[in-house]
């Protein structure tokens, strides 16, 4: 059955760009705070603090950022679900996002807390940055790929 009510977000031309700005601020906060820990694991940035301490100090803000990012993202998705569902860049983005969040709250967290040896730390930080980078690339490419999956 088709929904009889249209999405109220689509009634204003402003809602989409405003949500996009909120989305950008949300991921700058979440990915930025995760990157601070990753940079530490790579030996860049706040090197005088242990990674475990940085993780502890940023985890609340990371979570706040992720919530803002996911909530605004869901609303953006709701503006045209069929388009997103058929967009391969979006599907890759969602796969990477799922991996990135799971990785962040399992391996990444455990390794950062244990103040690991450099090779191990660098590998985990690189995987984390690569996954979040892939999420951003996927997000931008949504607007540049028009052909749906066939």
């Amino acid at each position: 059955m088709l929904l009889a009510i249209s999405n109220p977000l689509n009634e204003s031309e402003l809602s989409f760009p405003v949500l996009e700005c909120i989305h950008i601020i949300g991921f700058a906060l979440s990915i930025g705070t995760i990157a601070l820990v990753d940079f530490r694991l790579l030996g860049i940035g706040m090197r005088r603090q242990p990674a475990a301490q940085l993780l502890k100090d940023t985890s609340t803000w990371t979570l706040v950022g992720i919530v803002i990012m996911l909530f605004s993202g869901l609303l953006l998705f709701s503006s045209d679900p069929d388009m997103y569902y058929l967009n391969w860049a979006f599907l890759i983005k969602m796969a990477c996002l799922l991996l990135a969040i799971v990785f962040n709250y399992t391996i990444h967290r455990r390794v950062a807390r244990s103040n690991p040896s450099p090779p191990h730390a660098k590998l985990v930080a690189s995987v984390s940055l690569a996954l979040w980078g892939a999420v951003i690339f996927g997000g931008i490419f949504i607007a540049f790929v028009n052909e749906g999956l066939t």
């Binding site: 996009e20 700005c21 700058a28 979440s30 951003i136």
Partner: protein, 183 residues
């Protein structure tokens, strides 16, 4: 004069290739956004430390000094990608109100850095010694947050302005000159 310069930049072979490539242009845009995520996040953290909202177990000196270099490298990445995008659509950007706002805000960022340089960003030892974070430092952080969030929003706004087609001729001129070269 700025307009004809913009048209000349945009019609150069390099920026024409960049504009017409279906994947290089979005890749540059993705790197721009990735830079914003990584280093914009560091700006947010620094400002929130000055406001006393985050990283309170670390001194202001530690946060400001250790993040200075990563933020500069990040700014170079974001600005380079931004200039590449600007160059490939320079003529449209010239007419774009959000681009003009963004340039103005970026100029204000430099003014901000210059104004608070001595009292805040190179005065962190004094700030750490004070019983409370001084109002001047909080003001600097608040203005920085306001400026950078506005810059991000203005940047997103650029994409929503339709170019004034009656005023834009660069592409035809480029095609004409190409036809003449080959003719």
């Amino acid at each position: 004069m700025i307009l004809s310069f913009a048209q000349w930049v945009q019609s150069s072979a390099f920026f024409t290739e960049l504009r017409l490539s279906w994947f290089v242009y979005p890749a540059v845009m993705s790197l721009h956004l990735l830079g914003i995520a990584l280093f914009g996040g560091l700006i947010l953290l620094t400002d929130m430390r000055l406001l006393g909202l985050a990283m309170r177990t670390h001194s202001v000196t530690d946060v400001v000094n250790q993040l200075r270099m990563p933020k500069r490298i990040g700014l170079i990445l974001v600005a380079t990608c931004g200039i590449l995008m600007l160059g490939s659509k320079a003529e449209e950007y010239y007419f774009n109100i959000f681009f003009r706002i963004k340039v103005l805000l970026l100029a204000l960022v430099f003014v901000h850095g210059w104004v608070f340089r001595r009292s805040v960003y190179y005065n962190t030892v004094e700030i750490d010694r004070a019983p409370r974070i001084p109002a001047q430092a909080k003001l600097a952080a608040f203005l920085s947050l306001l400026l950078w969030v506005s810059i991000a929003c203005a940047g997103r706004g650029i994409g929503y302005i339709e170019p004034p087609l009656d005023k834009i001729h660069a592409i035809e001129r480029f095609l004409d000159s190409n036809a003449n070269n080959h003719g």
